[in-house]
């Protein structure tokens, strides 16, 4: 195996390792941190099923964002869905052995790269040209978009502009990563850029704003049921306080002198 192949193989595992460890850490942190008070935001669901529907609407339709800003919603929404389609389309590369029928049918998902780029460009334009969004942007916010645009654009060049790498090598490299049967990867620069940036994206997931993905599920304003009067909601640390010393029942039941 060439040195490049070895380095890229290592990069891949390294980024996955960071991703898994970092993300697990964050998810455990979020789930262990108590939400001491009921703070659902209106329109708040009164039942669990309502919370489920709310989450579905937020995660799949970006409902609040739609209310807030139609342009941001439009660009953001098509970008995210395009990303999902392109992710599915890439699964075939990694499938060990014969690619299953369904994955073969996802060939046309490659066209999702167009809305992907349009969405990202739109978001970037807003970040640059709307003074309010420019004000709140850090270098990392631009870099994130540039990173994604580079991934998308390099992929499109390979797919549509005939800079095909050797597809046989792509398949065996990708499959090899899954089956631990490592093999040579195509050395086309454009391909290397494409996958290198993907590795970066995976690695920075747990240490960047990409944490919005797990975060949305843990957001107390969105995931709480509005039933504070009916069920006593109390966090572990507040309960501790109650049972410890600060308010003993007797003390509280004393009559006014």
């Amino acid at each position: 195996m060439s040195l490049t192949s070895i380095i890229f193989t290592l990069f891949c595992y390294l980024s996955l390792l960071i991703f898994v460890i970092g993300l697990s850490y964050k998810i455990i942190q979020y789930s262990r941190t108590p939400a001491p008070l009921k703070i659902p935001i209106a329109p708040a669901p009164l039942k669990r099923s309502g919370v489920f529907m709310r989450m579905v609407a937020e995660v799949f339709l970006f409902k609040s964002l739609f209310k807030a800003s139609k342009w941001t919603w439009f660009f953001g929404w098509i970008f995210h869905w395009a990303l999902v389609l392109l992710f599915i389309r890439h699964l075939g590369y990694f499938w060990p052995g014969d690619t299953p029928e369904v994955l073969l049918k996802t060939e046309s998902f490659k066209y999702a790269s167009f809305p992907l780029i349009i969405g990202l460009m739109g978001l970037l334009a807003r970040r640059i040209f709307v003074d309010r969004i420019r004000y709140i942007s850090s270098p990392s916010d631009y870099l994130m978009l540039i990173l994604l645009i580079t991934i998308g654009a390099s992929g499109m060049l390979m797919t549509f502009a005939l800079y095909y790498p050797n597809m046989g090598l792509v398949y065996s490299f990708a499959e090899g990563l899954v089956t631990l049967n490592w093999s040579e990867l195509p050395s086309d620069l454009i391909f290397l850029v494409h996958i290198f940036f993907v590795f970066i994206l995976i690695a920075i997931f747990p240490i960047s704003k990409l944490l919005h993905a797990p975060g949305v599920f843990f957001s107390p304003t969105l995931n709480q049921v509005d039933n504070a009067r009916k069920r006593r909601h109390i966090s572990s640390w507040a309960m501790q306080k109650e049972t410890d010393k600060e308010v003993s029942i007797e003390q509280n039941l004393e009559k006014d002198e």
């Binding site: 703070i39 209106a42 800003s69 970040r127 709140i136 919005h212 949305v216 504070a228 966090s235």
Partner: protein, 516 residues
């Protein structure tokens, strides 16, 4: 009328271009050592304040999932940037919700995240230095914690949670706000925000009884510390002394009178408002809730009803059960003791609007709506009721019930433009501990979006009365309405509308109905 330079109201709300440092300044008056110490906070800025502040931030992120998740999840999409009335009214970019959060987030990133520790410039991580602390103090006191931004954020990021957290950090290092902390000192000592002791309160209530009798010829009681009452009524103390609040109190009294349900107020817990929420202190907020718990236990009441106060209702509805066990569905001994005493046939606590609404539904109240015919009424959804509570245990009940009560008492009602009411309601501009004269410029400018909507309703529907169910809203509007060429007396309590149209019967002759 306070003199502050404001532009004429626009025909529709335009998103202003940012004007950096438009509201730069020292922020509201700081609390004196005496005030701070009363609440158990250091009297002045402590020596090692940075270290203590960072430690407090660590504690807060570990105790509040909201803060932890919100600090991580923001993608800087900008959806919230034009949703804050203070940004719309002042154009200061630090009043954009995300920029306000970023004051806190940049320090969080610097101290608690990998990227911020090693690449601070890249991710906008900053040190908590003097300049940053000044910005915190100034801009976290330009947030009324109205939560409008959270309605529009794709992750429900609630800037109010961040501003509460920041205010608590500041209190812990000895940098407190005079207005809120002084009030908290009073409630802990005397039982209400005004510092009105029991005899004064008793006199006020007697005066009111006389006034009602003189006006209507019917004896209506406003009982205090009555141990045999069913209902403990907890209302903001503003209801005891100022217009237009007091007319609301008269309204509650008349409703209770007609219902035949016995009720009482408590001199020990004569305050529904709970500024503990504004300063983000669970502990202080809990002390307020415990006073009410104690009053309920001492008086042996079976129901607790809360008067017209926005944040009080949020605290009561959403937090009381947690803080002090006033509610239902407890499994722990502490809360059960109280919950066994309370009548589980009614929601605990209940809002006075819910109480009145129920009576209307049951046909127990009779109105002469023509008494309100000179009024064309619109309703201002107060933030904390609209976005942090419910009424009637039906979806969106907090929007439906007050409107139904108004419509039962008035013939003419019209809502303000859709984008400015219900869950999207604009804050009055004075909530969250900002209702103080040292913030008058902010209050006037922050009221602009609400005033603009009101103007539209005035022009389109001839609206001449603005009804609200929040003491802060009422005070704030009385003050700022003239700045926008409105009549300051157009703001009324919803229960004033009820009071004016309610047909009273002489209960000393007919026996109180047992049907309730």
């Amino acid at each position: 009328m306070a003199e502050v330079d404001i532009d004429k109201l626009p025909t529709y709300i335009e998103i202003p271009a940012i004007q950096k440092d438009a509201m730069a300044g020292d922020g509201p008056f700081k609390a004196s050592a005496e005030i701070q110490e009363q609440l158990g906070f250091p009297g002045e800025k402590i020596e090692n304040w940075q270290q203590v502040a960072i430690e407090k931030m660590a504690e807060t992120t570990s105790k509040y999932r909201s803060v932890q998740v919100f600090l991580d999840a923001c993608v800087k999409c900008g959806a919230c940037t034009d949703k804050c009335h203070y940004y719309l009214g002042t154009s200061d970019p630090k009043n954009m919700p995300v920029a306000r959060q970023d004051l806190f987030r940049s320090v969080y990133r610097r101290h608690f995240t990998f990227a911020g520790k090693y690449f601070p410039k890249l991710v906008g991580a900053k040190e908590l230095d003097d300049a940053m602390l000044d910005d915190w103090y100034n801009y976290f006191h330009q947030c009324s914690q109205c939560r409008r931004c959270a309605v529009f954020c794709p992750y429900g990021i609630d800037t109010a949670e961040i501003s509460m957290a920041a205010r608590e950090v500041m209190n812990v290092i000895g940098v407190g706000q005079k207005y809120s902390n002084q009030i908290l000192g009073r409630i802990n000592k005397i039982g209400n925000n005004l510092g009105m002791p029991e005899p004064a309160l008793r006199d006020t209530l007697l005066d009111l009884e006389e006034e009602i009798e003189k006006e209507t010829g019917i004896a209506v009681n406003l009982p205090l510390d009555n141990e045999h009452a069913e209902v403990l009524m907890v209302t903001p103390s503003a209801d005891f002394f100022a217009e237009p609040h007091i007319d609301g109190l008269i309204g509650y009294a008349k409703v209770f009178h007609q219902s035949g349900v016995t009720w009482t107020m408590s001199s020990y817990a004569s305050e529904a408002a709970n500024f503990g929420m504004f300063i983000g202190s669970y502990e202080v907020m809990r002390q307020g809730a415990l006073r009410i718990r104690k009053a309920a236990l001492d008086l042996g009441v079976s129901r607790i009803i809360v008067g017209e106060c926005g944040h009080a209702w949020r605290v009561a509805y959403s937090f009381w059960n947690t803080l002090s066990g006033i509610g239902g569905g407890a499994s722990d001994e502490y809360a059960l003791k109280l919950q066994r005493q309370l009548d589980s046939n009614y929601p605990q606590p209940q809002h006075i609007i819910e109480f009145t609404y129920d009576l209307i539904q049951k046909g127990i109240l009779t109105f002469d709506k023509t008494k309100n015919d000179h009024r064309k009424v619109t309703f201002h959804d107060s933030c904390n009721v609209a976005r942090g509570s419910n009424m009637g245990d039906i979806e969106n009940g907090q929007f439906i019930l007050p409107r139904e009560v108004i419509k039962a008492a008035c013939n003419h009602f019209a809502d303000m433009p859709k984008a400015t009411i219900k869950s999207s309601t604009f804050c009055c501009g004075g909530g969250g501990g900002l209702l103080t004269d040292d913030l008058i410029e902010l209050r006037i400018k922050g009221a602009m979006p609400r005033m603009q909507a009101l103007k539209q309703s005035q022009e389109n529907d001839g609206v001449n009365t603005l009804a609200a169910i929040c003491a802060i809203c009422k005070s704030q509007f009385s003050k700022v309405l003239p700045n926008y060429d409105f009549d300051p007396y157009m703001i009324v309590s919803v229960h004033q509308l009820v009071s004016d149209a309610l047909v009273l019967s002489d209960k000393s002759q007919t026996k109180a109905e047992d049907s309730l």
